[in-house]
Amino acid sequence: MMRFLLKRLGGALVVLALVAVLVFCLTRLASGDPVALLLGDQATVEDIAAARTQYGLDKPLPVQFALWVGELLQGNLGHSLFLQRPVAQALLERAEPTLFLALFAVGIAALVGVPCGMAAAIWRGSAADQAVSSVAMLGASVPSFWLGLILIQLFAVKLGWFPASGYGDPTASLGERLQHLLLPALVLGMLNSAIIIRFTRASMLDILGEDYVRTARAKGLPEGTIMVKHVLRNALVPIVTVLGLTMALMIGGTVVTETVFNLPGVGNLVVRAVLRRDYPVIQGTLLVIAAIYVFINLAIDFLYTLVDPRIRLEAP
């Protein structure tokens, strides 16, 4: 068990090192000059050169990379060029909306997706299955910005039930903040529930065809018990995987929704950093997102061992 986890952890570190190299190269390969943007049109060539020196952007790229890695090894993600604060602090400030949004959205996706998927599998081929599958198809193909705009139009502008955007006033309570998150969470939750429905349905159908389900039916177990104890329990492995990955994806993948709803989250931070060419923020944030993704995968692996003991035995 320990060996299994240690091996996975070693692999994770290699992935992160590769991500660091890749992220650094990609940000520097993109054209654009953060200093010219920072100083504006009135800046002279000398001003720009002086600022480049101040931020260490005049050094050769390998030196800049080495300096960054050195900082990373000391646990320092760097300092933003634009925000006048360390990258770690900028990230922490934006972690709350993104985490709440992701949790909220995954919650909605699971609550909608699992029961619908189960129903579709149990009554396979029925009108209910057809309806659920069509809705899932539709959900998976609707662009999130469109759904976001429609919800804003309806619930914020027409009905006035929810705020149109943002994350509340500086003094807003947690309740008010969650109210700001409901519409974006609904968008993300609805779209992702489509995937959960399809996965639940497919995975339940697989299990329904198994011998032990036939045996359970043959020995006269009530249908409810069979479904919950035997079928759903065994179907959970892929569903948990998908839920976990959805959660991980949302940490960095809520970009569009965060932009439409102007949420000050991690996705928004990355987008704005890219437009400003704020290298330390792009690098630091992407690395952290990659780390979260890798560790959620690790956590899923660990969860497997709880849901399905065979995985533990198969580990070398």
């Binding site: 943007l37 720009i48 634009f82 139009q153 914020a156 502008v157 705020p163 500086p170």
Partner: protein, 534 residues
Amino acid sequence: MQTSGTRRVQPQSVSPTSARRALLKASMLATALVLGGTSAWAQNGALPKGGAVNLAMVGEPQGLDPMVSTADLVGTIMQHVYEPLYTFDANWNIAPMLAESLPTVSKDGLSYTIALRKGVKFHNGRDLTADDVVASLQRWMELSPRGKAVGKEVASLTAKGALSVELKLKTPYAPLLAQLALPSGMAAIMAKESIAPQLKEFIGTGPYKFKERRPDQFTVLTRFDNYTARKEPASGYAGKREAVLDELRFVPVPSANTRVEGSLSGQFHYADLLPVEAMGRVEKGAPAVVPIVTKNFGFPYIVFNTKEGVLANQPLRRAVQTAVGTGELMAAGFGDNRFFTVEPNFFPKGTPYYSDAGSKLYNERNPQVAKDLAAKAGYNADQPVRIMASRQYEFHYNMALVMAEQLKKAGFKTDLQVVDWATLVQRRNDAKLWDVYFTHSGLLPEPMLSPPQLGDGAPGWWDSADKKASLAAFNQETNPTKRGALWGKVQQVVYDEVPFIEVGKFNSLSARSAKLVGYTPAVWPFFWNTGLKN
């Protein structure tokens, strides 16, 4: 992902030539078309006290140091915290702010004596003195791009007693007071003890104090209770300022569409710079939402590389000028003709710098003549004209598309390079990479402030004997009436030598909640003398 709203003037807090600004003399109140009058509130002094407002701005400010950044957004926010010595009134005349009155200028135009108001309080409770002014202006001349330009003209700056400052120039420099008055790249007066290369605290004399900034979330200012107001009635940025609202929250909302929805839903009390296509929706939001159209807000301009590449050849630039139809470009850029004007004068009629010099060379759109001119200039049809434009400002891109077509009609080969704004501002500094680029600027009350190509060393690298001579005459004349006439000569040189083409003028659209009362439309919007109705 929507990185910029269509035709949004200023995305992501990054602006060409500090875009927000300027209406011109006499035109501001007359032409800033405010649909729904609010001035009665200001005149009656019956503004309801208290309240907090959410102000949706186009992005996150680059920082909060109003000297270092020339971005309009930084100036818009920090003009509530810091005040300059001089400012502009409603007719774009220079008016005193922290200075007691307009300066006493020596006959040779070289020495300015500036008396300061007595008993003006800083946010830390101390009184303003001449030492604060000298220290602040010195910092401005060292750090601010605008201040550095002024610093080159200044021979000395000294305190004369507790409440008087003397500024001596090397040669007469007419734009001095306008430079001291502008809110962007502001000559802000700061408490001496708070001055540092990187400001740690923001201690000014303004009606609002800095409270908190959370990047990409908000910048919050609160009322300064001991604010020392001027006695004159309010006019533009000048005169009496009163902090009526308790709290101003500047919220960065880069997505233009989100600003529109937020103002329609009542979440924002003010939404800055909306896409002109949103006019219909904002009008439908009446009576809860009031549109604000600001005439002659800014101008798009096309910069030519006069140093290297195919258009370094001046007769060829003339050929391009002849091929271009600026009317079509403005229509492509701004659509609805309520939002733009096609006219050759760089400054609107009725303002001191209005001139029709060079107007024959404006909006010619004559491909045949252009073709002949190009042939005479020795144009070889294998040489592409490289046009650089960004989609971050949709109107730049739309205009670039049309211009490329107009050039093709005149026999030019074109190479349209669409890049993001961050890339454009980098590449334009390298003369080898481009021939033409699109940008825009706010219309400023002083010609020397924009576009930067009127100065030295700006991208395009325009440098000629006629430029130097006409600008020297213009800058050394301190008499405003004579300066007006001299500007026409500069404008003529621009038309003759084609270092850039001013395409036309555009108007801006913003929106406010009907609850926000007393608000006076301004190019750098301000929220003193503004209250919140229940």
